[in-house]
């Protein structure tokens, strides 16, 4: 097993999940509660990665990350490094690609919170932030965890985007799925098989966790 790839993949999955908790939770809450009619547009845009092939996202990102493109130039001026073929580059791709896998469960969980409890809390003089922290989040907790776990797992299994923008650099952009592909191409089926089997086990555990959480959420 390629342990460098394992560690890199875990790091990518953790970072993606962390970023999507910070960005996705407020976005999901806003989507679940706003009455603005333009909401559907935002919902559609965040859901695009479910429909689009990863190659589409990867293709756009590859063009956007070059030193001639505005995004690539801005990043290079700021950090002094190339965005394409870097960890930051695949992290950006991964965050965009996983947006719906985090935001949709988050949003559904928020929408399921009884509005009367929230308003009751406000009426008791609890601030909006404190209400969010002490009423909404505890009620929506299983959905939030499910979204985070799905994001994490989906990042571990990500292939197309990383293949398009990664450049297969050990320890930087060679994730597990790329390593497996590489092994198969190099006809090292034994090694590919070991890694693949480990991933199957991982996926089974994660999905079991998600379904257990769903049942718990359903009981409440």
């Amino acid at each position: 097993m390629d342990w460098t790839a394992v560690l890199l993949t875990l790091r990518l999955a953790l970072c993606t999940t962390a970023v999507l908790l910070v960005v996705g939770l407020p976005l999901a809450y806003w989507l679940a509660t706003t009455r603005w009619r333009g909401r559907v547009v935002v919902e559609a845009v965040t859901s695009l990665p479910i429909v689009l092939p990863p190659t589409v996202l990867g293709f756009y990102l590859l063009l956007a990350m070059g030193p001639q493109a505005p995004l690539g130039r801005f990043y290079e001026a700021l950090v002094g490094e190339r965005l394409a073929f870097s960890f930051a580059g695949i992290l950006l791709g991964s965050v965009l690609y996983n947006l719906p896998f985090a935001v949709q469960p988050f949003s559904a969980a928020f929408a399921a919170v009884d509005r009367r409890l929230v308003e009751a809390s406000w009426c008791c003089g609890t601030s909006r932030l404190a209400t969010f922290r002490r009423v909404i989040v505890p009620l929506a907790w299983p959905g939030i965890v499910a979204g985070a776990v799905l994001t994490f797992a989906h990042t571990v299994g990500e292939f197309g985007v990383v293949l398009m923008i990664g450049g297969n650099i050990p320890g930087v952009t060679r994730t597990l799925s790329i390593a497996i592909y590489d092994d198969v191409q190099a006809l090292d089926y034994a090694r590919a098989g070991d890694t693949a089997l480990a991933l199957v086990g991982f996926a089974a555990v994660v999905l079991g966790l998600v379904f257990a959480l769903r049942r718990r959420a359903g009981r409440r």
Partner: protein, 262 residues
């Protein structure tokens, strides 16, 4: 069913109903080719010329990495003719009893070239391989040496020309030689070592410049092909092979920088 639903179903079924009533004669023969990615542009033209000369043969081409095709053909992927960037893969298919033994042939010697977009500050003519050492070069794309023949040639050339250790940290690996070219063409990588056949394709010639890497700096890229044991129409596949190594195929291969096989 709603009217919209009925229309949708009718539209979905349309291809079948019209196909059933079609009168166009089915082509007499079919050849499905699995071609190495370095042939991307050259074989497009060879295919067009072949179709013009052989209208009775329906030719389909799939481009990809030679190693991927080898793995797929080992499990009997439905191709008839395999054109690899490395004659070793077809040879192994013959050894495994998956390809017609006497159909093994060599069609070209591939060459490699440095390629930069037109706007690049690098002067390939003046600096040659040393252009890779310029401080402005952050990333250098090559094909993955682990399984791409062109990647192995690129790595060997970098070693022979004495720059490998100095550029090693800046290498990014394309899955096959076409993706390697695309990394550079999109601007994401600064320079790449690509197949000369890609650098000479009209599209890349219009958008960039190249420098031929000396042929003696790497083992020769002997490109070969083979007809698969399960080819649907062995005779049609043989006609395509004959066309490829014949005068017209040779002329087109020449134009894309493929040297004749020894």
């Amino acid at each position: 069913m709603s009217r919209g639903g009925a229309i949708a179903v009718a539209l979905l079924l349309a291809p079948w109903t019209s196909a059933a009533g079609a009168t166009a004669p089915a082509p007499a023969a079919r050849v499905a080719v699995a071609a190495a990615a370095d042939l991307q542009f050259a074989f497009d033209e060879i295919g067009t010329a072949f179709r013009a000369a052989n209208p009775d043969v329906e030719l389909t081409v799939t481009y990809g990495s030679s190693g991927t095709f080898f793995a797929q053909l080992s499990t009997r992927a439905p191709f008839d003719l395999y054109l690899s960037a490395d004659v070793d893969y077809p040879r192994r298919l013959v050894a495994a009893g998956l390809a017609v033994p006497d159909s093994l042939f060599r069609y070209a010697i591939g060459q490699i070239a440095l390629w930069v977009p037109a706007a690049s500050p690098l002067d390939l003519e003046r600096d040659g391989i040393d252009a890779l050492l310029a401080p402005s070069v952050r990333t250098i794309a090559i094909a993955n040496p682990r399984h791409a023949p062109y990647g192995r040639a690129a790595e060997a050339a970098l070693r022979t020309l004495g720059v490998y250790e100095r550029v090693r940290a800046r290498l990014v690996l394309g899955e096959n030689i076409a993706q390697t070219a695309q990394f550079v063409e999109s601007g994401a990588a600064d320079v790449g070592i690509v197949a000369l056949s890609l650098a000479l394709a009209p599209r890349l010639q219009a958008t960039g410049r190249h420098w031929l890497v000396p042929r003696d700096s790497h083992p020769p890229l002997e490109q070969g092909g083979v007809i698969l044991e399960w080819a649907r129409d062995r005779h049609a596949a043989e006609r395509l092979r004959a066309f490829l190594v014949g005068p017209e195929g040779r002329r087109l291969l020449d134009r894309f920088g493929f040297l004749p096989p020894p």
